[in-house]
């Protein structure tokens, strides 16, 4: 797409549209639609809006967070039934009758109820890995559906009717054209807040979920909380859609809240492009219109009344997933070239507070007799080592010596079977890697763990997660901009510090492997650590890059940073580090200055098989 637009453009001035202009045109069309379109299409647009609201929740949950839910229709049902029951039931106790007196109160009641149910279901199902979660959502999706249909007071399978209209400032929304504005106000608010949320500290934490739990936790992100947050947000979106649905139809029954509709919502998110905020709108539009069209056309073609649209839907889904797994939004976005402004970095933003740095020479990390057994296998046996502030320690050893296991014990990813790990004099064995990260230990990974679709700057900013505090609501309504500017400034400083300034706004996935390793160091530095654990930082680097890395590490050391590196490149290690610990078969076989280690007979034996 880039190539096309640029050849068409006048020389020097790429003809890209300003995002504000595109948004403006969209809003004008949206406002004008009910004034010019026939009633039928306005009704259709109302349903598109309702579905888009649910699909938007799924974009956040599935597309961004990687948690698949087939059960969203049940949350729509919770919203719909709550308002239907409260506003129509007779002889309710006083306070419930009061809530039922206005649809706006029942909206709040529905949201509270849905949040409660979502927290309960989430605390049970969100811990499940991968495919168990979607299966779990199917199960409670069906359960809630049958519950709606079998509760006497909810009208059984017949449902509840006579739901009152919604009033806005005393003005009753009675026809579809009026209700249209209410629906789309909800959709726009949801779009706006979701987009804001994704572009914030909490948003980066949510996007980090896809990069693996270990990485996110090591950067100080509370992953179970982040999962719960998006689960509840998605449920609340669905609940709001249910409330709108009930007051649009003025009638509810269990059918639109069944599992099949839940599946349809997921299809919308996938077809539109799960992971794209606007994809939800596209997906909801395409599926709703297509469904309507198929229901009109197919019986005329095939004669009898069958469930043809379901067949076509299923087949279409298979084709979309086989051929265009990113959905339709990237294709549409390609047709309208919108100018993308790089994120502004405010160099005048106040610097972030720093932890007091330990004095030079203080022992930062100490491992005492750490032993880790996997069944009968002893991966680490009585390993002891220590690192001081202003010192670089190398942990070396042949493949399979147990270095990575040791690394995991130190960083809190794994717990030692016996022995202790002290960080600044405090025992941290058995603590989570998130807590340890908060104390000032930060790490990189042997197999690079970045979010390839995010920019270098944003990836680095994940490291500063614990240095900010603004939560989901301020982020959604843009009340976090001051803190965000400070976080981004810090990230930019670290990017420059490691020498990646030219790639600040490039996608992390487009960098060479060596640069990605350097990026991980910048991310680790962003958390304001006093100890860096680097897992093979020089692998894949060219000579110049290695020299730059060594230079950076020396500078950090002179500032009082403690560094522990695991590395195979002996030239790099021996010229850089202060001390070396050598491991073999899970045990320490030597410790000392680089020059001593190079002459140590046990080390030569281990590396060269005897001389």
């Amino acid at each position: 797409m880039n190539a096309n637009t640029q050849t068409r453009a006048a020389p020097g001035a790429p003809s890209r549209l300003s995002p504000k202009l595109v948004l403006g045109v969209f809003l004008v069309l949206l406002v004008a639609a009910p004034l010019v379109l026939p009633e039928f299409y306005v009704t259709l647009l109302n349903y598109v809006g309702l579905s888009a609201l649910v699909a938007l929740g799924l974009v956040l949950l599935t597309g961004v967070g990687g948690l698949t839910s087939f059960g969203q229709a049940a949350f729509v049902g919770l919203g719909g039934y709550t308002t239907a029951w409260l506003t129509t039931a007779q002889d309710l106790p006083g306070w419930l009758a009061f809530i039922g007196s206005s649809p706006w109160f029942t909206l709040v009641a529905g949201l509270v109820l849905t949040a409660t149910v979502a927290v309960i279901l989430g605390s049970v199902t969100l811990k499940l890995s991968g495919h168990f979660l979607p299966l779990g959502t199917m199960a409670w999706g069906i359960s809630l559906y049958f519950l709606f249909g079998n509760m006497e007071f909810l009208g059984g399978h017949g449902g509840l009717s006579g739901i009152p209209a919604v009033s806005v400032f005393g003005y009753e929304l009675l026809d579809n054209g009026q209700f249209y504005y209410l629906v789309w106000a909800f959709v726009l608010a949801a779009l706006f807040t979701t987009r804001n949320l994704l572009d914030s500290r909490e948003g980066r934490a949510i996007r980090a979920l896809k990069g693996g739990m270990v990485m996110a936790e090591s950067m100080g992100v509370d992953t179970s909380r982040a999962r719960m947050v998006i689960f509840v947000i998605a449920a609340l979106h669905a609940c709001a859609a249910g409330w709108l649905y009930a007051h649009l139809q003025r009638f509810v029954n269990p059918t639109p809240f069944g599992l099949h509709i839940g599946i349809e919502y997921l299809f919308m998110a996938v077809v539109g492009g799960a992971g794209q905020v606007w994809g939800a709108l596209v997906g909801a539009g395409v599926i709703t219109v297509l469904k309507q069209w198929l229901q009109d056309i197919l019986p005329k073609v095939f004669g009898s009344a069958g469930n043809f649209e379901v067949i076509i839907f299923g087949v279409m889904m298979v084709i979309v997933l086989q051929r265009a797994r990113d959905g339709l939004w990237p294709l549409i976005a390609g047709l309208v070239p919108v100018r993308e402004a790089p994120k502004a970095i405010d160099s005048a933003a106040a610097p972030l507070a720093r932890k007091p740095q330990p004095p030079m020479g203080e022992t930062i990390l100490e491992a005492r007799d750490v032993t880790r057994k996997f069944g009968g296998l002893v991966a680490n046996n009585n390993m002891s080592l220590h690192v001081k502030a202003g010192e670089i320690l190398a942990l070396i050893g042949p493949n399979g010596a147990g270095k990575s296991t040791m690394f995991n014990q130190l960083s809190g990813v794994d717990t030692p079977t016996s022995g202790d790990v002290l960080f600044r004099g405090k025992s941290v064995a058995g603590h989570s890697s998130r807590e340890i990260a908060g104390l000032g230990m930060s790490r990189t990974f042997q197999h690079v763990r970045l979010l390839p679709k995010m920019t270098v700057l944003e990836n680095v900013a994940i490291g500063a997660h614990r240095r900010g505090s603004k939560g989901v609501l301020p982020a959604a309504w843009r009340l976090d901009r001051e803190e965000e500017a400070r976080l981004l400034r810090e990230a930019a400083i670290q990017v420059e510090r490691v020498g990646l300034k030219d790639f600040m706004f490039a996608e992390a996935g487009s960098l060479a492997l060596g640069q990605q390793r350097i990026l991980e160091i910048a991310r680790a530095l962003c958390s304001d650590p006093c100890l860096l654990l680097l897992d093979e930082p020089a692998a894949g680097l060219r000579l110049k890059e290695k020299q730059a890395l060594a230079e950076l590490l020396r500078r950090l050391k002179s500032e009082g940073m403690a560094v522990l590196i695991v590395e195979h490149d002996m030239d790099f290690v021996m010229s850089l580090v202060d001390r070396v610990v050598v491991m073999e078969f899970g045990e320490k076989i030597a410790e000392g200055l680089p020059a001593e280690i190079q002459k140590n007979p046990a080390v030569l034996e281990a590396y060269l098989g005897g001389v």
């Binding site: 890995s129 495919h131 049958f146 069958g306 298979v318 997933l321």
Partner: protein, 342 residues
């Protein structure tokens, strides 16, 4: 509630549980080998049962046309892919010649006068080949995709199959003749012959599967694929073949369960889904990995269902599907592990 009712409900529960156990085994098998969570399992059950019903009614089963259609589609997919073209001869044989030959054969046979055994064989011959065809068309092109993509495809296939089911069978349900009308008296308890057939068939199938996986080369190839796909591939086991074979077995199990369940309850075009999901609950109890646990879970689901339909029949399904939540909780508490490097 007296002992007689308990015994009767227990018998019901165990009978249904045996069928759920079969489905659970198939689901565990398919997931282990292909990583597909096989939602359309229930459709094979429904199509098997309804094909049997059509045969009993002396009608020409419409599923044959579906088989012909599936075959043509599979052949087309083969013809458009490089690997498919290499074996195009075999593809024409299985995907075009076989369905047409079967259709021709059925056209000539006096369907109304066939013995039960022949009907069972014909139902299997019609519905089972659609299993491997389905794998070829829907799953083989994306065999390496993440589990979630496979799951969504699986759900999409399920939707399409339910739609097709309504189209060819119509909205009416059917019940078939039991395989045995005999009644046995055991103390004060009457045991239906069909119950014994269901239990016997389940045990035979489970033992047969065990022998297949333990004693035959193909069975071992499937096990190897389940443990390590790449390793198996390096040993010369084709993942595509493993996938088709697995779907073949799953379809056999699905159709047989359909034949067993149809005399007990009325089967509609969309009944398969709920029955299949109950198999799922059982499979999840086994963690989608353990066959004996899954079978045990299935009996538990069957018993829970029959007892809850006695006490609170409206909430029968609510109870069964809510059961999954404590099970999942228990699963999530017992399976803690350090995330592996990918």
């Amino acid at each position: 509630m007296d002992a007689e009712i308990i015994a009767m409900l227990g018998q019901d529960g165990v009978t249904n549980g045996a069928i759920y156990a079969l489905l659970a085994l198939a689901l565990v098998l398919v997931f282990a080998v292909t990583r597909v969570i096989f939602i359309p399992q229930g459709e094979f059950l429904a199509w098997g049962a309804l094909t049997m019903a059509a045969l009993e009614g002396g009608q020409f089963p419409a599923t044959v046309w579906l088989l012909v259609g599936c075959g043509v589609l599979t052949l087309a997919v083969d013809a458009f892919s490089a690997t498919g073209r290499r074996n195009i001869g075999r593809s024409v044989l299985w995907n075009l010649a076989y369905p047409l030959a079967l259709a021709g054969l059925l056209w000539g046979l006096p369907i109304a006068e066939l013995p039960t055994a022949a009907r069972v064989l014909i139902a299997l011959a019609i519905v089972v080949p659609m299993g491997p065809m389905l794998y070829r068309v829907a799953f083989q092109p994306v065999a390496e995709a993440p589990v979630l993509v496979l799951l969504i495809i699986s759900v999409a296939v399920h939707l399409a199959m339910v739609g097709l089911g309504l189209l060819i069978f119509g909205p009416e349900g059917s019940r078939t003749q039991p395989f045995s009308e005999a009644q046995f008296e055991l103390g004060s308890l009457m045991i239906g012959g069909h119950t014994l057939v269901v239990l016997g068939a389940s045990v035979v199938l489970i033992v047969a599967l065990y022998l297949f996986f333990d004693r035959t080369l193909y069975g071992k190839a499937l096990r190897a694929t389940a443990i390590n796909r790449n390793g198996a591939r390096l040993m010369g086991i084709s993942p595509a073949l493993a996938g088709r074979l697995t779907f073949f077995l799953a379809a056999v199990i699905g159709v047989l369960s359909g034949l067993l369940v149809a005399p007990i309850t009325t089967v509609y075009y969309d009944s398969g889904f709920l029955i299949g999901l109950k198999g799922f609950v059982a499979a999840i109890i086994g963690g989608l990995a353990s066959y004996p646990l899954a079978a045990g879970g299935a009996i538990l689901v069957g018993l829970l269902e029959s007892f809850s339909s006695f006490w609170a029949s409206a909430f029968k399904d609510v109870i069964v599907f809510t059961l999954i939540i404590p099970v999942l909780m228990w699963r999530s508490l017992t399976s803690h592990h350090v995330e592996e490097e990918e």
